[in-house]
Amino acid sequence: MARAEWSSAMIPAAFDYIAASSVDEAIEMLQKHGDQAKLLAGGHSLLPLMKLRLAAPGVLVDLGKIEDLRYIRDAGDHLAIGSMTTHYMLESSALVQERVPLLSHAAGMVGDMQVRNRGTIGGSLAHADPASDLPSIVTVLRAGIVARGPRGERLIPADGFFQNTWTSTLYPEEVVTEIRVPYASGRTSSTYQKFRQRAADWAIVGVAVSLTLDNGSVRDAGVVLTNVGSTPVRATAVEEALRGGPSTREALGAAAERAADGLNPPGELKGSPEYKLHLARILTLRALETALSG
């Protein structure tokens, strides 16, 4: 029985495994093993790739035992989130629900319950998959990503962190330790619209919206799209159309028309480029209307 069992299993290629006990040790291991090494967080993006042999790192450096990377703290003017914080922790945290409701709302829309129980925000951002939800969310929230490497720590603005499909500005020997999400000033209203075929699917297109409203006008607007390019895409034409204008349905409708301006989304099995452009406009309209009424 044991042999039959193994012959049907999907097994990642062999590697060395190191359970790091601190961030410093993880950085040391990354330096020591160079190209061969890869960090392991929840493993829910990396292990499926390894099983398909799309990734075959020689050394896995597991962050899972570093308990002090798992926290959500009120840091005065921002929320400080440890990189190993799971989607489930974000979804269920009263602090996140109260201070940055968009983040808990969107974390609750990632994959399914089992995935949210294990996948982490740090892994989700470092993985830089354009179909992932949280990259758009941290971009619209103008969050900062703290990375620590051999030469110390740096704070990377989410705008600019994502470079290309599966590529961020992180250096290979850097570890994401914290995500800092600034608290909104003024009356903001935000939402994430995610369009998918089945309830657990990735977004065909998603849109994150954050509006700062001021006496019938839009003081500031953030609109960021998921899965219409190789990174999260800021819909600058929509933002510019909204900023300083009236917060009426007509104005929002006119702005949403511009959501597909300049986009050139790749087609895929789930949606052609034209379909995605259509979704970008419709979802932006829905998101703006939801934010306005919310």
Binding site: Q114, V115, A200
Partner: protein
């Protein structure tokens, strides 16, 4: 690699290859209730409870579970006393071919710990990560609802 885990309440020492999934480690140790299906975390048939949370064991390395407490479908019952969700599944005929059922039971049992009286809508949301290709969601949802009701009256 040598690791210590607690499996269904019993501490065990395992010698596992580092590239072995928790799913395989469990099945090779005589716990076949956890099913191998999609191998990519999509279908939920391999769900087990790790330190109190239902997870897909096919995309978790056994070594990642070192030091943790694992509950499989075999460990939900107390002696011959089935878990209320298991009892409700049998009473409601919540079964088609049966392959996805252990994952559904584990997931539902875990969710009820957090929310002991969910609505039908909430249960539907929980089963998003448990694929049944016989299209048999109606009875499992009814079963969980009845487990909740029976629990109220007892």
């Amino acid at each position: 690699m040598k690791i210590e885990v607690t499996v269904n309440g019993e501490s065990q020492e395992w010698e596992v290859p580092v590239n072995q999934t928790l799913l395989d480690a469990l099945r090779l140790r005589g716990l076949p209730g956890t099913k191998r299906v999609c191998e990519s975390g999509e279908c939920g048939a391999c769900a087990v409870i790790v330190d109190g949370l239902a997870l897909d064991s096919c995309i978790l390395l056994a070594v990642q579970a070192a030091g943790m407490s694992i509950v499989t479908v075999e460990g939900l019952s107390t002696g011959s006393q089935l878990h209320p969700v298991q009892e409700a599944f049998t009473q409601n005929g919540a079964i088609q071919c049966g392959f996805c059922i252990p994952g559904m039971i584990v997931t539902a049992a875990n969710y009820l710990e957090e929310n002991p009286s969910p609505t039908q809508e909430e249960i539907r949301h929980v089963f998003v990560g448990n694929l049944c290709r016989c299209t048999g969601y109606k009875k499992p949802i009814e079963a969980v609802l009845s487990a909740v009701r029976d629990d109220d009256t007892s």
